[in-house]
Every structure is written in structure tokens, then in C-alpha cells.
Symmetry: C2
Subunit: 140 residues, 2 copies
């Protein structure tokens, strides 16, 4: 259940140190050493899983159930009124370590972190077409 070349598996095994925040049988939480905001924390399942779409239901459940209290505790530690939970899946989405992880990123008003939100509108008919395609995929 570990991958020898995975830095997060090495952290789980204790072969690489981390700033540990929380640990139980299923998950580990530690500070991101390249934070985008103070307190930026990572939550990972201990088992090596590449991405959320490959995550067995029981492991995802064990991971998700840690999030509310962990996020609250991280945000409170830096007096942040808000936070992002971000899970990048695949290198094109910014995933750098290919071991499933959830970023908890404390946020303050006008902190300048993640200001980008390049939204657009669909042309006529596009949204219906997308719904249909996604629905077909869900039935596969």
C-alpha cells in the first residue's frame, strides 16, 4: 500500500520528517512546507492512492470525516475567518505529489491568494449537451 518513490508515503513511514498535526490509523495531516498562506495544511490517506477517483469509499470516508474539525482548528490557529479546501487531481490540475491530498488553506479578507476566477458563459445549447454527456458517463 506504499509506493517507494512517493514522498508522502515516506512521510507516512517516518522516513522523511514532517510538521505533524494529526494522525490516526487512516490519515495523516501535516503542514505544507511551501505554504500559500500561513497554516496551510495537507490531509492525506496513509495508503497510496493517486487521485480521488481511484479512492476506495472507506478510505475517502475516513479522510473526509477528519476535514471539518481539522479545517476549523487550522483556521482558528491563524485567526482566519475562511479557508479553501482544494484537491488537485492530475498534473494538469496542479497536482505535484501523486498521492491524494487535500489542501486546507486559511484565508483572510483581501489576502491576495487565489484572486483568479476566470468565469464565462456557455453558448446556447452547450450546457444541455454537457449534462447529457456527463449523465451518460455516470451510467457507465
Amino acid at each position: 500500500m506504499t509506493q517507494t518513490d512517493c514522498i508522502f508515503c515516506k512521510i507516512v513511514a517516518g522516513h522523511i520528517p514532517c510538521y505533524k498535526i494529526f494522525e490516526n490509523d487512516h490519515v495523516l495531516a501535516f503542514l505544507d512546507i511551501g505554504p500559500v498562506s500561513t497554516g496551510h495544511t495537507l490531509l492525506i490517506p496513509k495508503n497510496h492512492i493517486d487521485r480521488i477517483d481511484q479512492c476506495p469509499p472507506n478510505i475517502l470516508a475516513e479522510t473526509a470525516k477528519v476535514l471539518p474539525q481539522l479545517a476549523r482548528s487550522v483556521a482558528a490557529a491563524v485567526d482566519a475567518p475562511a479557508y479553501n479546501i482544494l484537491c488537485n487531481n492530475g498534473s494538469a490540475a496542479g497536482q505535484v505529489v501523486m498521492h491524494l491530498h487535500f489542501h486546507i488553506i486559511p484565508r483572510h479578507e483581501r489576502d491576495g491568494v487565489f484572486t483568479q476566477w476566470p468565469s464565462f458563459k456557455y453558448p446556447e445549447g452547450k450546457a444541455d449537451m454537457l449534462c447529457q454527456k456527463i449523465n451518460e458517463n455516470l451510467k457507465k
Copy 2:
């Protein structure tokens, strides 16, 4: 369990239309009408919950368990090799509708979406101090 002034509660109740993708007793998924990438989907619990730190464990579990297959189906519909799952909690984190929601944002190589990642390094001693504070909060 609904809030009269909440646009997502109105969508759940069928009072406002949506491009529906998936629905069960607990959750609803629909297209974001202001997408940041084609296929951008929102997954919400049907009950009104402001943020993940206020989410009862059973509702979070029901929501999380939909994510793997939904994310896979959304990404496949737009031939995306990757995707972000993003949950903004609090207005300072970019949460606009105060009803818990998970963005599923399909991503392609060099698509220019979310290029910002302003990481830094902690000064000596800061990470230890943060760990201690978060740990104390977790014990509260």
C-alpha cells in the same frame, strides 16, 4: 433544513431551474452557470449547511462518496486529464453562495486556469509554533 433566501436551497426545491447532473436523497449536482472551465460542476448537500466545518458527519459522508465517480464522469465528458475539487468556506475564501458546495473543475494542460500558487517558506520556529496551536485547537 432550507433557507428561504438561499439560491441553492431554491434550486434543490425546484423553484429555480438548473442544469441537473445527478441527484439522490442527500445531494444534488448541477453545472455551474458561471464556469471557469467547460464542464465545471457543483455538488451540494440538499440540506442547508453554510460551510464544511458545520457539516454533520453523515451528510459529509453522503456528499464525499459521490465525488469520485462524479469527478471522473465530468472530466471524461470534456476529455480532461485532470480536475480540481475546490470547496471555499467563508467569503474571504471566495465563497459566494453560503450553502456548502464542492466545485469540480475540469483541467487541461496549460489551460491558464488557476495559475497562481504564491508559496513561501516559514521563518525558523514558525512551523513548530503553528503545529502546537493547531494541535491545541484540535483538543478543544
